[in-house]
Structures are given as C-alpha cells and as structure tokens.
C-alpha cells in the first residue's frame, strides 16, 4: 500500500515541473518502474488517479514502463537477469552483484498543455 506514498511524491514532482514550464494541464505522464521495486501497477494507477484530483495532473494518463532487472557479477564479470528472490550469478554462483537496472522508479516524461 506504499503506492499511495509513491503517487503523492510523483504528483509533487509533476506539479512542480509543470509549473516551471508554465503548463496549465498535464495530459500524460510516463514512469519507468523497475521490476525489483515492490510496486503493483494497478494500485499505483488508482493511487495516482486519486492523488491527482484537484491538481493540474487530474485526469492525466499514466503510462508505466516496466524495466527488467539486470545485474553484473563482480566475481566473473558476466551480466545476468536475477530473479527477485535469487541474485546468485548463474555463471559462477557468486553473490556479489551490482544491480544495473530494475531498482528504479523514474519519472521520465510529461506531456502538458500550455496556454
């Protein structure tokens, strides 16, 4: 249920960026959601709708693009796709990875109407 907190943080950013660009209304929002983030897209969509009410982003279309996880093994240098509950390197068995992607929650673009 922390999707509500995420939606509130997202709307804050959106409203500020829209104001900086003198936009009167936000029509569409694109979000990159890492697959390792504990986010349920349907709940985030509903939370976004609710939090947006009364802001310039009310009614905006939210597109969530899932970013698949990718790790780099520091043991053998191979890249691999970890499962959320298993980060062992499939090549050498080490647990020593850098998460390259899949951990992010990034606002990537807004489409706005200007006066």
């Amino acid at each position: 249920m922390h999707e509500m907190s995420l939606a509130a943080a997202l709307i804050e950013d959106i409203v500020r960026i829209a104001q900086e660009h003198q936009a009167i209304r936000v029509e569409a929002v694109e979000l990159h959601v890492g697959a390792l983030k504990q986010v349920v897209p349907e709940i985030l969509a509903e939370a976004f709708k609710a939090v947006a009410i009364g802001t310039p982003a009310e009614g905006a279309v939210l597109t969530q693009i899932e970013i698949p996880p990718r790790s780099l093994c520091q043991g053998c240098g191979q890249e691999f796709v970890p499962s959320p509950s298993d980060f062992l390197c499939p090549y050498c068995g080490a647990l020593s990875m850098i998460t390259l992607q899949g951990d992010e929650l990034i606002l990537s673009s807004l489409t706005c109407a200007t006066p």
Partner: protein, 226 residues
C-alpha cells in the same frame, strides 16, 4: 508539449534521509531501523535490549504504529527518550517523520537510536529513513518460507534475527531453508537465532550492537583525522 525528465520519484525522501544520517553522524549515535511483520517481537526485543544497555548505553526509541502509543508505553521506563509516531493509514515510516522527531531528542547524550518501523515486511523496505543499519526480525511462527517471499527487505538487511527460536520444535521448521534463501539475496547479513523468553542469542545480539557502534565510531574518527 512533451517534457523529458529523469527524476527519481523518491528523491525527496532520500534527501531528508541523508540529512537525518548526517545528524546521527554529528551526534555520534548509531541509528537502527527495526523491520518485521506485526507480532514478530520488535517491542519485546527492545524491552530486553534497553534493560541490558541501560546505564552504559542510553538509547532513544522512535516507534511507528498506525494507532495507539502502546509500544512507547512499554519501553518508556527503560529508554532514555521515546517518541511515538502514529502513521494513521500509512504502512511505513517516512524520512520526514523521523526528521520532525529529531529536534525534541537529545541525540548527543545517547549511544543508540532504535527506530521501530510499522509492522510490515514490504513497504518499509522502500523508504530510507537515514538509519545506519537495517535489522530484520523473522519469527519462527511466521514460517520458514518468508525470506524468498519478501526478498526486498532481506536483500537490504544488515542483520536477520530469527526470533522466538524457543518455539522451533512446535513447528515444522526448516532452518536450512531460511539460511539458503537468505544466501541467494544477501552475502553478509548474519542470521542470528534469538529468544526473548530463554535469552538465547541475547549475548550475540548485544555483541553485534557494540561491534557496529565501534566500527562506526572508528570510521568516523578516521574520517575526521583525514
């Protein structure tokens, strides 16, 4: 008009968390975020820990719950200072709530700050509070399958306390499964069996706390001398 941005949605929380961490560093206090399901023994752990630390290491407790100040009342006698945060409907603490609590607390006079998060194995894992360490409690009655089911918090753990270990024989419980699931996620966090009832693991837990404090203060001294 399309505006392209690259904005981390949790940046605002993370910035406040970083300020909290700086306040802890300046005060020389070690901040520990206690995360677990409801009822796995966070408050009982605190009761026992504060009793053991009292005198030598005064400790501050910040307790997060949806409602009531019951947990704060339970530890009030043994803690140097206690703050209860009622989160209302929120299933986790935010960095901001910790920041708002700090002015009323005398961080410099205490050794440890224990932040008892809202009972929940999911959401608290996503919000940095500025703590130095995350301790995850997993109680025996919850079952031996939970590490793989809730991987995010266990990935981030600095220590996993396997609480209510005295109940081990009452359940069909596979300790090896917990250990092997944890080692697919986290190479370093020790897995420490613990019982507030029998006292098992208490000495190791207190030793771990002192080691972490010494390591942190040592690192700080090196940082200052450089």
């Amino acid at each position: 008009m399309k505006i392209n941005v690259v904005k981390n949605v949790l940046k605002a929380n993370d910035l406040v968390a970083e300020k909290n961490r700086q306040a802890f560093r300046e005060a020389g206090i070690l901040a520990i975020n206690l995360i677990s399901s409801p009822g796995s023994g966070k408050t009982t752990l605190l009761e026992k820990t504060l009793a053991a630390l009292s005198g030598r290491d005064p400790s501050i407790v910040i307790v997060g719950d949806l409602q009531t100040s019951r947990d704060a009342e339970r530890v009030a006698d043994r803690a140097f200072q206690v703050t209860q945060i009622n989160t209302g409907m929120s299933c986790h603490l935010y960095a901001n709530q910790i920041a708002s609590s700090l002015p009323a607390l005398d961080l410099e006079q205490a050794s440890f700050l224990f932040i008892e998060n809202v009972g929940n194995l999911v959401c608290p894992g996503e919000f940095d509070l500025g703590e130095n360490l995350k301790v995850i409690l997993l109680s025996i009655p919850e079952g031996d399958d939970k590490v793989a089911k809730y991987p995010t918090v266990f990935r981030a753990a600095d220590l996993v306390l396997l609480t209510k270990i005295d109940l081990l024989d009452a359940f069909q419980y596979d300790l090896k499964r917990v250990e092997s699931d944890l080692r697919k996620l986290n190479a370093v966090a020790p897995l420490l069996p613990f019982s507030a009832t029998t006292g098992a693991g208490m000495e190791d837990w207190l030793k771990w706390l002192q080691q972490q404090k010494a390591a942190k203060l040592g690192a700080q001294a090196r940082f200052i001398s450089e």
